[in-house]
C-alpha cells in the first residue's frame, strides 16, 4: 500500500466517521465535513454545468453544427442573470414562466399517455374463471387488482366526506396503500443496509489494513 493510498483511505475514513458522528450529536467534525461537502458540490456543479450544458449542448452544436436556433434557449438562460438587478429582475420571470408552463404541458400528456392510459387498460382484467389460466386463483388475483385500484382512487376523491359506503371503500383503499408502503419500506431498508455494509466493510478492511500497514 503506497503512502498516497494510505492518505486517501485515512481521508475517506475521517470523512465517513465525521458524518457518522452526527448520530451522537452535532459537533465540529460534522460541521467541518458538512461545509466541505456543500462547498465542493457547489463548485463541482458549476464546472459540470458549464461543460455539460453550456459547452456541450449549446456552444458546440451552435458553432460546429450550425444549430443557431439554440440561441433562443441560451437567451432564456441569460435572462436569469437579470435577477442581480433590482430594476430589471422581473425579466427573469419570462424564463421561469417558460419552464413552469412547459413542465405543466409536457407532464399533462406524458402522465396521461405513459401512466393513466396503460394503468387503466391493465386494470381491466377478466373475472371469468374460463379466461384465467389459474382458474379461480387467477380470478381472485384479478379481483384484488381491480378492488385495489378502484378503492385507492376513491381514497383520493376529495369532493365528498368519507362516510358510509364511500368511507368503507376508502378505508379498503388505505389498507391497500399501507400494504404497498410496507413492501416499499422493507425493500428500501434492505437497499440502505447494503450501503451501510459497504461503508462498514471499508472501515474494517481498507481502513483497518492501512492501520496495520502503518503501525505494524
Amino acid at each position: 500500500m503506497s503512502w498516497v493510498e494510505i492518505v486517501q483511505i485515512w481521508l475517506v475514513a475521517f470523512v465517513t466517521l465525521s458524518l457518522f458522528s452526527f448520530l451522537y450529536k452535532d459537533n465540529p467534525f460534522y460541521r467541518l465535513v458538512e461545509h466541505i461537502f456543500a462547498g465542493l458540490s457547489a463548485g463541482y456543479y458549476v464546472g459540470l454545468i458549464y461543460h455539460s450544458v453550456i459547452l456541450q449542448t449549446m456552444i458546440d452544436p451552435m458553432f460546429r453544427n450550425g444549430e443557431w436556433w439554440l440561441i433562443f434557449p441560451g437567451i432564456l438562460g441569460a435572462l436569469m442573470f437579470s435577477r442581480f438587478s433590482k430594476n430589471y429582475g422581473w425579466i427573469s420571470r419570462i424564463s421561469l414562466a417558460f419552464v413552469m408552463g412547459n413542465t405543466a404541458g409536457i407532464f399533462l400528456l406524458s402522465e396521461l399517455h405513459g401512466k393513466v392510459l396503460p394503468q387503466v387498460g391493465a386494470t381491466m382484467r377478466s373475472l371469468n374463471p374460463q379466461h384465467q389460466a389459474d382458474g379461480w386463483t387467477g380470478v381472485l388475483l384479478s379481483l384484488l387488482i381491480v378492488v385495489g385500484v378502484v378503492s385507492t382512487l376513491i381514497y383520493f376523491y376529495f369532493s365528498k366526506e368519507h362516510k358510509g359506503v364511500l368511507g368503507g371503500v376508502a378505508k379498503v383503499g388505505i389498507w391497500f396503500i399501507m400494504i404497498s408502503f410496507g413492501a416499499h419500506f422493507g425493500y428500501t431498508v434492505m437497499a440502505r443496509i447494503s450501503l451501510l455494509i459497504g461503508r462498514v466493510q471499508f472501515l474494517i478492511f481498507d481502513f483497518g489494513n492501512s492501520i496495520k500497514e502503518l503501525f505494524g
Binding site: 456543500a38 371469468n128 396503500i177
Partner: protein
C-alpha cells in the same frame, strides 16, 4: 406554444372575457377533426389474439406499420395512433374548464377535510409562539418536475402564513431555478400580506447541488437552529428518512408530502402528518380556496369517477367475453 398560452391568458391576442368561448371552439374543432385525422389509424390493424384461457389480449406492438416506418414517422407530425390520448386530454381539459368556470361564478364547491393540510397553519402558529423558524424544503428536484411546481405553489401559501405571524422562514433549495421561483413566490406572499419589508432574499437559499451535501447541510441547520416546524413538500429520494428523522430528533412538528411511493413510508414513520401522492397536488387548492385551483381539483375528482367507471365497464366487457366491443374498448387504453 407557451408564449401563445401566456399571451392568450393575458388577453393580448383576444380579450379575456372571450377566452373561454375561444377555448371551447378550439376544443370542439379538435374533437371534430380527430375522427377525420384518425381515419388512417383504422388501417393500422391491432391484432387481438386469444391466450390459452381464451382471454382477449390486445397487442399494441403488432401493427402493419414496420419499425422503420414508425421510426421515420416519429418526427414532427400528427400521431394518429395517439388519438385516444388526445381525446382524453381534451375531455379532461373541458371538465376542468367547466368546473373552474363554476367556481369563478361562486358555486359552492365542497372539499373534504385533509388532515395534514389543516395542521399547516397550526404548525406555523406553534413556531410563532416558540419564536423559532419554519423550515420548508421544496423537494430535491429541478423546476421541470411537476412535484416541485406543486411544492413551490404550497410554499406561497405557507409564506403568507409566516408573513402574517412574522415567523422566520427558511427555504433551502438544491437548484438555481427553484431558488428563483421560490424567491418570487415568497416575496409575492409577503407583498400580498402587506409586509414587503419583512421579506428577506436569504429566506430562500441555495444550499448545495449534490443530494447528500444538501441533506447534510439541512440536517446541520435543523440541529443548530431547531426550527419548530419542518415542512417537506415535493420530490424526495434517499434523503427522506435522513431529513425526517433528524427533524424528529430536533423535536420539530413535521408535515411532509410527496408523490414518490418509495419514500412515503419513511415520511409516514417519522413525520406527524403526511400528504400522500394526489394530496400534495390538492394542497395548493385546499389551502388557498382560490376558485381557479378549486375548479381544477373538482375537475380532477370528476375525472377519477370517469376512470373508475371506465375500469368497471372494461372489467365487465372482458369478463362477459363481449368480443365485438372488447377489442375496440381496450384499444382506447393502449399507450403507443
Amino acid at each position: 406554444m407557451t408564449f401563445v398560452v401566456i399571451l392568450l391568458y393575458k388577453g393580448v391576442i383576444i380579450p379575456q372575457r372571450q377566452l373561454f368561448r375561444f377555448l371551447i371552439i378550439i376544443i370542439g374543432l379538435i374533437l371534430l377533426a380527430a375522427p377525420i385525422l384518425s381515419a388512417d389509424s383504422l388501417d393500422v390493424a391491432t391484432d387481438s389474439v386469444q391466450d390459452v384461457a381464451g382471454q382477449i389480449i390486445t397487442d399494441s406492438v403488432e401493427t402493419t406499420t414496420s419499425t422503420e416506418e414508425v421510426a421515420e414517422d416519429s418526427g414532427w407530425g400528427y400521431r394518429t395512433e395517439r388519438n385516444n390520448a388526445l381525446f382524453l386530454m381534451v375531455l379532461f381539459s373541458v371538465v376542468i374548464l367547466v368546473y373552474t368556470r363554476w367556481a369563478k361564478q361562486g358555486k359552492e364547491l365542497f372539499l373534504r377535510k385533509i388532515n395534514g393540510l389543516d395542521e399547516v397553519e397550526e404548525a406555523v402558529g406553534r413556531a410563532t409562539e416558540m419564536g423559532r423558524p419554519v423550515l420548508f424544503v421544496p423537494g430535491l428536484q429541478e423546476l421541470d418536475e411537476i412535484e416541485t411546481i406543486a411544492a413551490i405553489s404550497i410554499l406561497g401559501r405557507v409564506a403568507r402564513i409566516t408573513a402574517r405571524y412574522d415567523t422566520p422562514l427558511m427555504v433551502p433549495v438544491r437548484y438555481p431555478l427553484v431558488l428563483a421561483a421560490g424567491q418570487e413566490v415568497v416575496q409575492q406572499a409577503y407583498i400580498e400580506e402587506g409586509k414587503p419589508d419583512a421579506y428577506n432574499v436569504d429566506m430562500v437559499r441555495y444550499v448545495a447541488g449534490e443530494q447528500f451535501a444538501f441533506t447534510a447541510t439541512v440536517n446541520g441547520y435543523m440541529m443548530r437552529e431547531r426550527p419548530a416546524t419542518n415542512i417537506f413538500m415535493g420530490a424526495f429520494f434517499a434523503e427522506s428518512l435522513l431529513l425526517a428523522e433528524t427533524g424528529n430528533a430536533a423535536g420539530s412538528i413535521q408535515i411532509a408530502g410527496t408523490a414518490q411511493p418509495s419514500q412515503l413510508p419513511f415520511f409516514i414513520a417519522a413525520c406527524d402528518y403526511t400528504l400522500m401522492g394526489e394530496e400534495l397536488y390538492a394542497a395548493s387548492a385546499y389551502l388557498s380556496r382560490e376558485p381557479l385551483l378549486l375548479g381544477g381539483l373538482k375537475g380532477q375528482d370528476f375525472i377519477k369517477i370517469l376512470l373508475i367507471a371506465a375500469i368497471l365497464i372494461g372489467v365487465l366487457i372482458v369478463s362477459l367475453d363481449i368480443e365485438a366491443i372488447a377489442e375496440l374498448y381496450k384499444s382506447l387504453f393502449v399507450s403507443v
